[in-house]
């Protein structure tokens, strides 16, 4: 179960990483074509931010797996491994689950309204808006799933079935 979720989210993380390169090339290409060829297309401009949404919403579950979401470690940093595991179990159940479930639920309604109307961007030649709005509930749902996986791993570690590295280093900035 936990392994399956990890694999699913790893897959989405690969998609998110590829979007980094694509959106970057598209943005540079847009700027270049506007000056070199005086061509500018709303669709190409819009695809940039739609990809950007994909980068962070689809990448976040994998970041959770890697334990790279920023913590305030002034107290956390000095605790024992067991205490850290307990803090995470508590946090996942009381913070992560309700927050992601709520956002996924509200995000779904937001997407549905747009989908039913077949909402298009108001710019000339713009893209449909509902696919990118679908990423919003999808991202939070995946985060919820990853939360389940992390919870399983931590409970297993607390029972001593599995060793788990709880080392937390602040991500590079």
């Amino acid at each position: 179960m936990s392994g399956l979720i990890d694999r699913i989210n790893r897959y989405f993380a690969v998609v998110a990483a590829v979007l980094v390169l694509l959106s970057c090339l598209i943005s540079a290409g847009n700027a270049a074509s506007r000056y070199a060829l005086s061509i500018s297309s709303n669709a190409w401009l819009e695809i940039q931010w739609q990809m950007f949404s994909g980068i962070f919403l689809l990448g976040a579950p994998y970041v959770l797996k890697l334990n790279e979401h920023v913590r305030v470690d002034i107290i956390y940093g000095g605790r024992s491994d067991r205490t850290k595991l307990w803090i995470d179990v508590f946090g996942i159940i009381f913070f992560l689950f309700p927050a992601t479930a709520m956002m996924a639920y509200m995000g779904y309604g937001f997407f549905e309204t747009s989908f039913v109307r077949g909402e298009m961007s108001s710019n000339a030649g713009g893209l449909p808006l509902w696919p990118v709005k679908a990423i919003l509930p999808l991202g939070f749902a995946l985060l919820f799933l990853q939360g389940i996986s992390e919870l399983i791993k931590r409970i297993a570690a607390l029972q001593g079935d599995e060793r788990m590295a709880v080392s937390y280093e602040k991500p590079l900035q």
Binding site: L25, F56, Y62, Y76, P98, M103, G107, L136, Q173
Partner: protein, 472 residues
């Protein structure tokens, strides 16, 4: 204190407790916001439709063209970090300055500033410069407190010098154009380089044994060989700086496009240096995706929090508290800076900018404070958060790569004078606002006209956000 109800103070207290628990900030903030949101509905501050603004807020982040520059600038920085540009620069410049006392330290400061203008990550600068200069400094008898201090401090210049991520995020939160933020930060970053250089000059004059010149045998390159080494490092950097900052200042590109072009430029540079590979590209993409997701999720969490916090009159409460500070503008600025200086001991700039800054903006506006000036001031102040022993990032990275002969004690003690210098800069900026606004006044006319037309071409997604009554 309770004129605006007990919810806002309770939420603020909850913020402190939830954050201290140590669970990732993004989720703690979101959970805190939602919990208080539903309590507030029960108590009658607002109804359920208020909470339904949440997806619109998140969608506003998704479709924000400025935030899109975060992955681009990060991507550019990570590629440059891995293509060995810092090494090339430092070797050349270090040898060029090597013959005078303190020469290596000057080289670190200048290279730190150049790296800052092209990359934007403190970690990259500190690690690269530490790996190269520390062993040389150790070998020729530099005082390690000075050596580690100058490397850590020069790495943090990155924070202030455009195109820093901090400035982008601050511009977004303050609602000012990022081009203005960059122009405003220009003077202070030069002042900072000058202050650092002056400090090394004083040390070199009065205690030359602490920063000895390199002996001739350490300076292997002379004449043309040296010149070409320096040029090989400098010219591509200058081209990149122009590509990124030049196009923004001349109004040719939006910051987002400039970031994308910079990233493409960085890839070209890596190819020219024969260090480009698919492994490098992949690791840079992966790293960028992770940093972007991490930053944006703090912003999402903070957005959920602030929406509810404003809904329960938190904005008015904070403004009311801050308006009680005596001394008008000056009193407010001194209070805010002292407050942020201490917050920076245990919070990162992301958390400070996303959570604290929105609370301060209404009060700053009420006092008629120029928001660009205010933002640059906060940026310089938050720079110290990288230098605070023992949690400061810059010190932490340096510890990670320093040879074992370098004591942690030296790294910690060494940071203190530089924190002092950064605080001097904060004071200078408070009492001399022209150091920020001078550049603004000159360029702003050209900027507004040309960038304005460029910006018109950018689609603004349709958003029917419910308007918030912020009480001003």
């Amino acid at each position: 204190m309770l004129e605006y109800g007990y919810m806002a103070p309770a939420m603020f207290a909850g913020l402190v407790v939830f954050m201290l628990i140590g669970f990732p900030v993004a989720f703690s903030l979101a959970a805190l916001g939602l919990t208080f949101g539903f309590i507030a509905i029960e108590v009658g501050y607002f109804d359920l439709s208020f909470m339904q603004a949440m997806p619109y807020r998140v969608f506003g982040i998704m479709s924000n063209d400025l935030l899109l520059s975060i992955p681009f600038f990060t991507f550019m920085g990570v590629i440059l970090e891995r293509s060995g540009l810092a090494e090339d620069l430092l070797e050349g410049v270090g040898q060029a300055f090597g013959s005078v006392p303190g020469g290596l330290a000057y080289a670190v400061i200048f290279v730190g500033a150049i790296l800052g203008a092209i990359t934007g990550t403190v970690a990259a600068s500190v690690i690269a410069m530490g790996m190269i200069s520390l062993p040389i400094m150790l070998k020729y008898g530099y005082d390690m407190k000075i050596g580690t201090g100058v490397i850590a401090a020069s790495g943090t210049i990155t924070q202030v010098i455009p195109p820093s991520l901090v400035l982008i995020i601050l511009a977004d939160q303050l609602g000012v154009p990022v081009g203005d933020m960059y122009l405003g930060a220009f003077g202070p970053s030069l002042l900072q380089v000058a202050l650092f250089t002056a400090f090394i000059f004083l040390v070199a004059t009065f205690q030359p044994h602490k920063v000895p010149a390199l002996p001739p045998e350490a300076r292997t390159l002379h004449g043309w060989a040296l010149a070409s080494k320096v040029a090989w490092g400098m010219i591509p950097s200058l081209v990149l700086i122009f590509l990124v900052l030049g196009t923004i200042f001349m109004g040719l590109a939006t910051p987002t496009e400039a970031g994308a072009m910079g990233a493409v430029g960085a890839m070209v540079l890596a190819v020219l240096h024969r260090r480009f590979s698919t492994a490098l590209l992949w690791s840079a993409m992966d790293q960028t995706m992770r940093i972007t997701a991490m930053v944006l999720f703090i912003l999402i969490g903070a957005t959920v929090f602030s929406l509810v916090f404003q809904g329960v009159n938190g904005g008015r409460w904070i403004e009311h508290l801050l308006s009680g500070i005596p001394g008008g503008q000056l009193g407010f600025l001194i209070f805010v800076n002292v407050f942020i200086f201490f917050l920076a001991f245990f919070l990162d700039f992301f958390e400070i900018v996303f959570i604290v800054v929105p609370m301060l903006v209404p009060a700053a506006e009420a006092l008629d404070i120029n928001l660009v000036w205010f933002g640059v001031l906060l940026c310089v102040n938050m720079q110290t958060s990288f230098m605070h022993p023992p949690f400061g990032f810059a010190l932490f990275y340096l510890r990670g790569i320093a040879p074992p002969e370098v004591k942690s004690r030296d790294i910690y003690l060494g940071s203190i004078p530089w924190i002092g210098l950064q605080l001097i800069l904060v004071a200078v900026l408070i009492f001399w606002p022209e150091s920020v606004t001078y550049w603004l006044g000159q360029e702003v006319v050209l900027d507004a006209a040309t960038v304005g037309s460029t910006l018109d071409a950018i689609p603004m997604p349709e958003l029917d956000m419910p308007t918030l009554d912020l009480g001003n």
